[in-house]
């Protein structure tokens, strides 16, 4: 199945909304059923295409947030107020609606349990989505591979998948949050942008040769990968997926 997803011509497919979940005030997860879905690997994404009545089309890429699960896949969407695509996805879609998507695409920013670890996952905001697919796959596969997630969010209420991450924490998975804009009164965790000192404390050390996956807005991904190299992590072991400030 995974092999089939590696190559071949892409075709647009109809995806039917089966569920819409509110993750945070600005973020929703939309669960789709795609009848002919070939399966995906954790970290891959899809291209979504919307067509207006006048024929105008807008395309965006969204990481798949769910672990491989038959014909179902979850996309987590941040509502960008003046975006062309995200307000429609986040506000208008309801179960039974259908949109066009194609995929899965990508094969570089991918992790599967046989690749092992240790793993260091560093997420900025909605950059958690492809890393969540890896965390969910790890849990579904019963893997106890040493995995550290360092997750940067603006505030407590902005933490995407917060309760699920609390449940999954343990059994080799360590979840560490940093809240960069506002913190609850009793907050004792990190309260600043991700830096080298924080990455060194969260670990694993460069000597353990972790597989590192960094996903977030471009300035976040650049700062984190530079700090990791500064700490002595091998550039080849760091995989980065950047997304832009616009689009939405």
């Amino acid at each position: 199945m995974a092999r089939a997803a590696l190559s071949g011509r892409l075709t647009w497919q109809l995806a039917e909304v089966v569920d819409v979940l509110t993750e945070t005030p600005r973020v929703k997860t939309i669960a789709f059923d795609v009848a002919d879905w070939v399966g995906h690997r954790a970290g891959q994404h899809v291209d979504v295409r919307l067509t207006a009545e006048d024929g105008y089309q807008a395309e965006r890429s969204y990481s798949i947030a769910s672990a491989p699960n038959g014909t179902r896949l979850d996309l987590t969407v941040v509502r960008i107020a003046d975006g062309e695509v995200s307000p429609y996805l986040a506000d208008e879609l309801k179960p039974g609606d259908r949109i066009e998507l194609r995929g899965p695409v990508g094969g570089y920013f991918v992790w599967e349990p046989p690749q092992g670890g240790p793993l260091l996952l560093v997420a900025g905001g909605s950059g958690i989505a492809p890393l969540m697919a890896m965390i969910r796959l790890r849990a579904a596969a019963g893997s106890d591979v040493d995995t550290r997630l360092l997750f940067s969010s603006h505030g407590w209420d902005d933490i995407i998948y917060r309760e699920e991450l609390e449940r999954l924490n343990g059994n080799g998975l360590t979840v560490v949050h940093t809240l960069t804009s506002s913190q609850p009164p009793d907050w004792t965790g990190y309260a600043r942008l991700v830096d080298a000192e924080m990455l060194a404390e969260v670990g694993p050390s460069p000597a353990e040769r972790p597989r590192v996956y960094v996903c977030g807005p471009t300035p976040f991904a650049e700062a984190v990968s530079e700090a990791l190299v500064h700490l002595g992590h091998a550039p080849r072991g760091i995989k980065t997926e950047r997304f832009g400030p616009t689009g939405g």
Binding site: L6, S7, G8, R9, L10, H45, V46, D47, E59, S61, R102, G103, V105, G106, G107, Y108, F109, P217, T218, P219, E222, K239, T240, E241, R242, F243, G244, P245, T246
Partner: protein, 85 residues
Amino acid sequence: MDKLMLDGNAVAGLLQELFAAEMTSAIGSCATCGATEPVGAIHVYRGAGIVLRCPHCDNTLAAIVRDERRVWITFQGIRALELAI
């Protein structure tokens, strides 16, 4: 650093559409500095077209421009591409 910079993952769908193969794990070598990187790690800039640049020396590796019916591609700065078959 350019905030608008993306990476090869952002054009995975377009590249697969053009080449009918998963391209982000293909290894490209830069004709200017000789560095080799997976396409997923290459820097990507989107404007009227898409420009792929070497993350080590900033050389233009390739450029892609498309309209509704055609696509133009240059590979001016790529020495070789290695794909799994």
